[in-house]
């Protein structure tokens, strides 16, 4: 049995709405998320001994505010907090912060940890963001000169995946339909209008097998979550959510160097996470899957063993992942529905998994959900992370 199981619990969450808020400071979104998470948990703020902010590399000032002790100061924890340090892996910062925090608590180095994210990619000029995303996390000598850019990234994956599995563009586009249905029920989401497959396909063509409605929309936002010992969690107001298993692999730095763009490393990551948690794919009540582009939930559903190879497209197209479906998927609407706040897109999905397991997801609550998987990917989908979370210990 993994050492952290039954010893660590997530006890509080906070989140500000995702959108374009030019006048709201990056730091303010972070602080508001922290405050909400503390109040939600019912823990005394002075009990927080470690703060783990994640990064934002689009603006030096935002990151300076996030990395250094500004948050500790604002929360009145100077002289009380023991640690303040950044954990950052782009989109997979969610899972990475969580496993770092689990390790620290299990080892007895920290007792109560606040993880926080905030970014403001929605307020920046679009062309500036496209150009930035043509170099950040992309080998500038080997890929940038050919006009590759992160905004078109989903196209390379979708094209090969369709070639190998026979999946149609309509089926891939149906992932956006699913995301928007969930976003319509999420007051913190930015894109709350439902879309049909035809509307998704009729939007502007970005690249082969990728339309603009299949691209995530950059946004501002922030979220936070608090972990403490399972022992301390017993006296707090929320039902504790236990991390039960972690599995992951790093797949590539340059996308051109990945050996299999149609699977990435989700099969290995999922196997590892399930074994650690002691569960099977059919034990999963909710799949909080990282999206970014609609192709990734399909690759992930297959890697998680929820769908057979090549069958995820039909599974989503038939409505199985929608509200009321067989397997609720990415119930906050993901980056295609809630909006993409850089590293925050993944953190929002993790926070949603916790929210669902705590039974606090309002209109979109999946009744009786006990086991959730959360997945994440960073950079040009450089790593495959699977986390199993439970309302119960397995």
């Amino acid at each position: 049995m993994a050492n952290f199981k039954g010893k660590v619990a997530i006890v509080g969450i906070g989140e500000v709405p995702t959108g374009k808020f030019p006048n709201r400071l990056c730091l303010l979104n972070a602080l508001e998320s922290c405050r909400q998470a503390i109040l939600d948990s019912g823990i005394k703020k002075d009990e927080i001994d470690t703060i783990i902010p994640t990064g934002t590399f689009f603006n030096r000032r935002y990151n300076t505010d996030m990395v250094f002790a500004k948050i500790v100061e604002e929360l009145g924890l100077l002289g009380k907090a023991k640690n303040n340090f950044q954990v950052f892996a782009g989109g997979s910062s969610s899972s990475t912060m969580l496993k770092t925090a689990c390790g620290l608590i299990t080892a007895g180095i920290a007792k109560t940890i606040l993880c926080v994210q905030s970014d403001k990619t929605g307020s920046a000029p679009v062309q500036e963001m496209i150009d930035l995303f043509a170099t950040f996390g992309i080998p500038e000598e080997w890929e940038t000169p050919y006009g590759f850019f992160m905004g078109g990234c989903g196209s390379l994956f979708a094209t090969r995946y369709m070639h190998e599995t026979g999946t149609t563009h309509e089926q891939i586009a149906s992932v956006v339909v699913s995301m928007r249905k969930w976003a319509a029920l999420n007051p913190n989401a930015m894109l709350r209008r439902e879309l049909s497959v035809d509307e998704v396909l009729a939007s502007k063509l970005v690249a082969t097998n990728l339309t603009s409605r299949e691209g995530n929309v950059l946004a501002d936002g922030g979220a936070a979550f608090i972990l403490t010992t399972a022992e301390r969690a017993k006296d707090l107001r929320n039902p504790p959510v236990y991390p039960l298993g972690f599995g992951s692999r790093v797949c590539h730095y340059g996308i051109s160097q990945d050996r299999d763009l149609t699977r990435l490393r989700f099969p290995e990551a999922a196997k590892e996470a399930y074994e650690m948690a002691g569960i099977a794919p059919n034990d999963v009540d909710i799949a909080e899957i990282y999206d970014g582009y609609p192709i990734f939930p399909l690759i992930t559903l297959e890697g998680l063993g929820i769908c057979q190879r090549g069958e995820a497209g039909a599974f989503v197209y038939e409505g199985n992942t929608w509200p009321g479906g067989k397997l609720p998927m990415t119930t906050n609407g993901g980056m295609l529905g809630q909006g993409h706040t850089a590293a925050g897109g993944g953190v929002a999905i993790l926070v949603e998994a916790v929210r669902q397991l705590m039974g606090k997801a309002g209109e979109r609550q999946v009744n009786g959900a006990k086991i959730a998987v959360e997945t994440s990917m960073g950079g040009t989908f450089m790593d495959s992370h699977v986390v199993v979370l439970g309302r119960v210990l397995t």
């Binding site: 000169p145 078109g152 990728l210 603009s212």
Partner: protein, 137 residues
């Protein structure tokens, strides 16, 4: 030569032979002299066995399209006049993969697993980029 507006590679000490090869219209790739692995992109030491005993060999310059994207909009600065242009991952016969552009082919004719060969594009006085075109059958 008209002004080149797109991003250019900046060769490093260990990638310089690759770019010098391109200048001479030769596709050079690294090969570990100890474990015999082909290496791309150029590295300081072999990622398989960590040996720094690395040599350069001339690749055949033939391969297949692993995946591709014809870019139609939201392109990075400098590529405005090229759309639609095709970015592709090429798997060379030597087994290594590299990103490049597919040229001399209408974007809608590009397919996965299509056979391609290298063709060199002298973009500035210093830099020549390897591109790929379909092998005419």
């Amino acid at each position: 030569m008209k002004v080149y507006k797109k991003p250019l590679p900046e060769p490093t000490p260990w990638s310089k032979p690759f770019w010098e090869g391109c200048k001479k219209h030769e596709l050079l790739i690294q090969k570990c002299q100890d474990c015999r692995e082909f290496i791309f992109y150029p590295k300081m030491f072999c990622p398989s066995c960590l040996s720094s005993n690395i040599g350069w060999v001339r690749a055949k310059g033939r391969g297949k399209v692993y995946s591709y994207m014809a870019v139609h909009s939201y392109q990075p600065t400098g590529f405005e006049d090229d759309i639609p242009y095709v970015v592709a991952i090429i798997e060379l016969e030597e087994g290594i993969r590299m990103m490049s552009n597919i040229v001399e082919c209408p974007p809608e004719k590009v397919k996965c697993d299509m056979e391609v060969e290298v063709v060199f594009k002298d973009v500035t006085e210093k830099i020549t980029l390897p591109n790929f075109r379909p092998i005419s059958t």
